[in-house]
Amino acid sequence: MSKPLLSLLATACALAQPALAHSRPVTLTAQLKSYGGDGAYLAAYLTDAKGGYVRTLWVAGGKAKYHRHLSDWSRLSAGDAKRLDGVTGASVGAGKTLKVTADLAEALIDAGYEIRIDAAAEDMRDSPSEVRIPLTKANAGKPQAGKQYIQTATFQLP
């Protein structure tokens, strides 16, 4: 099966599931390093077991001009016209913490899905997939280190 079709199916399932099954609010926290630059752009999104894009959880940083620096997210989510709907906020300063909540269907947990965060800051290097955390019960509350900008990223299940 072609990749776009797979992602489409996955998206359709993910969007359809909340209506069918129980969903739960997942809290995602990213504590940034003091990397000595301007506010970072971050994109948190969900990928499936095959690495296909499912949905965008949060985008920090409002200038569309810079969104292509969140390169994995920008590429993978290109087909999602509503990727920014209701999930954008300000960029996150060095040393600051981003805390956002997203409703995720119960069925996505322990099913091979992954939370990824792309990061970028002006004049510094783009960091696609800065953090990748498999969406499993075991990983909940366990801090993961990022490559360049993120000190620790954690998700909490209620």
Binding site: K63, K65, R75, Q148
Partner: protein, 736 residues
């Protein structure tokens, strides 16, 4: 609103923010200079493949190679889990040290582009850039008006120190400031989301896993063909991902390269919007060439200079604004006076006319010319109009001609008096146009158009007599010009000549002026700067009317020199000739721009008689470039009135003066008058005029007419004439 008003109010308001942007911009210009010092640029023939090979050898774990606009190479990678950014010498791949995007604190850049106020600040900064663009546009209009057109743009700037700073600096950096504003707006347009640089998604491409080992960068054909000069950025595929690709960015676009086959999997050309944006960034920041950054830095600093000098100029103008007293309401007035004046001096004449008519029992209303109209009560209208630059209207009256052309004529006589300077080709040009427009519409006039030269109070009084006769009532126009503030000059030395024929004594007087502080210079108080050919107004004690003398020296000479002849019953010349060294006299400078000598390599023909040689001597004294200058001097007797004789001989020896023809009319074999000398040298004169010679004539009225006639005769075979030379601004007279 006039251009002047636009310029003034934008400058005083948004110009303040412009200062913030200018100064922070100047600080940011440090970065490109610093970057250029820090890292060498890549050699012209180096390929990206070779660079990749060198870099991978010396830096393990390379993820990204960037070529900065300055040409420096920066390599990003990880040392363990620590991200690293290093400057690398492209010649050998050696790591030169850690890379830093800027040596300045972050707030400088953020203050520059968003005033530290986030998005609202970005809009404000963009608005300021727009205001700066409008300031530049209005500045160009005002500059051209002030200087009298493009051809005179480079000529000498007059006015107070603040005005000269404003105009001279403006002339130099206007184009750069305009470019900076435009590029700033281009950058803002994309940042504020008004223009999308590239809306396309990146292609979803992966390297094809073949089981073959990945190719090293040095073997990729694309990179072998690509010069480092064209590189923007190269991303190295991650070691642990066989599907990852090379990603290449150049000025032309970006491409993705298969890591096994080395083939280009996809290519996206840069959009037009992106290219325009890239160009704007390079021009705005100077990051590609440090000398440009230095220029931009200096230009940024001048914004502060413009703002400060602009405030001083505005303050000065407020102080000098015209005040008319005793004007009746328009509806009740039987005489209306309308004034068009750029500097304000014409308002003084209006006040004199109004006062004289009021004393005769008239109710007089005086107003600005743009309010031109008549009422049922109006019996007479007078228009006092000054001309600005090349025959233009003063700014406030710029639409008057159209208004008159639209308005149907009345039966009330409208009489025009023009004020100007005969040296300018368009002497009273605006008054002429105004008079013609009024007559064309059918307005009657009480008196024909009168053209007053150099604010002459005497000429105005004569016109007043003609007016009195027409009105059939006694009327005396005793105009006392509002004198500019005077400075006391101290006589240093005097050189006496007995005078010839009539025996009128003459002296060359050399004065010193008091030093003045910076504040006085900024405001333009104290003695104004002057050049040879300008006039000094001398106010003798107990008199309110100044007499004007042509200056034989410039400010740079360090002394003020005039040549004074005893006039019969002349209060001023008597006072001056009676001065002893150490004594003082009240004086002020009046510019005489039409007579000033432009910077030129063309031959200069100087013709003077008697004391008229004074400004010409000043021109020669300042001829440090030893350009060809030829003097024709006419006197009466070499023993009695050869003014500047010894100096003229010295200047010949020094090469400041090429030739001199001195003729004397009262001695046998003296050569007659200057006109005679000119006729004798006809062949030589034609040659100089053909070479583009510039002519300056100074002396009495009869002499000036004689010279013009002689030159017309001499030049007739060439189809040239004095009128033609005047039209080209190559011929000017200073007549007394």
């Amino acid at each position: 609103m006039s251009w002047k008003a636009v310029h003034r109010w934008l400058g005083l308001t948004l110009g303040t923010l412009g200062v913030v942007l200018g100064v922070t911009g100047a600080m940011l210009a440090i970065d490109p200079v610093q970057q250029a010092r820090q890292a060498p640029a890549a050699p012209a023939d180096l390929t990206v493949a070779t660079l990749v090979e060198r870099v991978t050898r010396s830096v393990p774990g390379v993820e990204e190679i960037r070529r900065l606009p300055s040409g420096a190479i920066v390599v990003f990678g990880f040392a363990g889990d620590q991200p690293q950014a290093s400057n690398v010498d492209p010649a050998d791949g050696r790591v030169l040290g850690p890379w830093q995007a800027s040596v300045l604190p972050r707030w400088v850049k953020n203050l520059h582009r968003s005033l530290l106020l986030g998005d609202a600040g970005r809009w404000a900064a963009a608005g300021t850039a727009l205001a700066m663009g409008l300031l530049c546009g209005s500045a160009l209009v005002l500059l051209l008006r002030r200087m009298g057109g493009w051809r005179r743009l480079a000529s000498r700037v007059r006015g107070s120190l603040a005005q000269r700073i404003h105009v001279v600096a403006g002339r130099m950096v206007l184009a750069f400031l305009c470019l900076t504003s435009l590029t700033a707006l281009t950058m803002s347009a994309s940042t504020l989301g008004l223009v999308a640089l590239d809306t396309r998604a990146e292609p979803d491409v992966l390297s094809v896993v073949t089981g073959q080992p990945a190719l090293p960068g040095a073997q990729l054909p694309t990179l072998q063909r690509l010069a480092v000069q064209d590189l923007r950025k190269l991303n190295v595929p991650a070691g642990n991902d066989p599907q990852d690709t090379w990603k290449l960015a150049t000025g032309q676009g970006q491409g993705w390269i298969d890591r096994s086959s080395g083939e280009m999997l996809a290519w996206q050309d840069a959009t037009l919007a992106q290219r325009v944006y890239d160009l704007a960034v390079v021009l705005h920041t100077g990051e590609a060439a440090w000398p440009w950054a230095v220029v931009l830095g200096l230009v940024g600093t001048t914004v502060l200079l413009f703002w400060l000098s602009g405030i001083v100029i505005w303050w000065q103008a407020r102080r000098l604004a015209p005040h008319i007293t005793g004007s009746s309401p328009l509806a009740q007035a039987d005489v209306l006076i309308f004034v068009a004046s750029e500097g304000g001096s014409t308002w003084g004449f209006a006040q004199t006319l109004q006062d004289a008519l009021s004393r005769g029992g008239h109710r007089v209303h005086t107003g600005a010319l743009e309010h031109f109209r008549t009422t049922a009560a109006t019996r007479q209208v007078f228009v006092l109009a000054a001309t600005y630059g090349e025959g233009q209207a003063p700014a406030h009256a710029s639409h008057v001609l159209e208004n008159i052309a639209r308005r149907s004529a009345g039966a009330t006589p409208v009489t025009v008096v023009g004020f100007g300077d005969r040296q300018f080709p368009a002497f009273c040009g605006f008054a002429d146009a105004l008079d013609q427009a009024l007559r064309a519409q059918g307005w009657p006039a009480l008196l024909p158009l009168e053209r007053i030269h150099q604010q002459s109070a005497q000429q105005f009084a004569r016109w007043g007599m003609a007016l009195a006769q027409e009105l059939g009532e006694p009327l005396v126009l005793a105009h006392v010009p509002r004198l500019p503030p005077t400075t006391t000059l101290t006589l240093m030395t005097r050189q006496d000549y007995p005078g010839a024929g009539g025996g009128q004594a003459t002296a060359i007087l050399r004065f010193a002026w008091p030093a003045r502080g910076l504040a006085a210079r900024l405001r333009g108080s104290g003695l104004a700067r002057f050049a040879a050919g300008d006039l000094v107004g001398i106010v003798p004690p107990g008199s309110a009317v100044p007499r004007y003398y042509s200056l034989a020296s410039g400010w740079d000479d360090g002394f003020l020199e005039i040549c004074v002849r005893q006039m019969p019953a002349g209060a001023c010349s008597t006072h001056l000739l009676g001065l002893q060294p150490g004594e003082g006299v009240a004086a002020f400078i009046r510019p005489n721009p039409g007579f000033a000598l432009p910077r030129t390599r063309k031959p200069v023909l100087l013709i003077g008689a008697g004391t008229g040689v004074a400004p010409l001597a000043g021109f020669i004294r300042r001829n440090d470039g030893h350009h060809p200058m030829h003097l024709y001097f006419g006197g009466r007797d070499p023993a009695r009135d050869y003014f500047f004789g010894p100096e003229i001989q010295r200047w010949l020896g020094e090469g400041r003066l090429s030739t001199v023809q001195a003729v004397f009319s009262r001695v046998p074999g003296g050569g007659g008058y200057v006109q005679d000398a000119l006729r004798r040298d006809a062949v030589q004169l034609r040659d100089w005029v053909t070479q583009g010679a510039i002519v300056r004539v100074c002396g009495g009225g009869a002499m000036a007419r004689g010279v013009a006639d002689a030159l017309d005769e001499v030049l007739a075979p060439l189809q040239w004439s004095v009128a033609k030379l005047k039209a080209q601004e190559r011929y000017a007279e200073d007549v007394f």
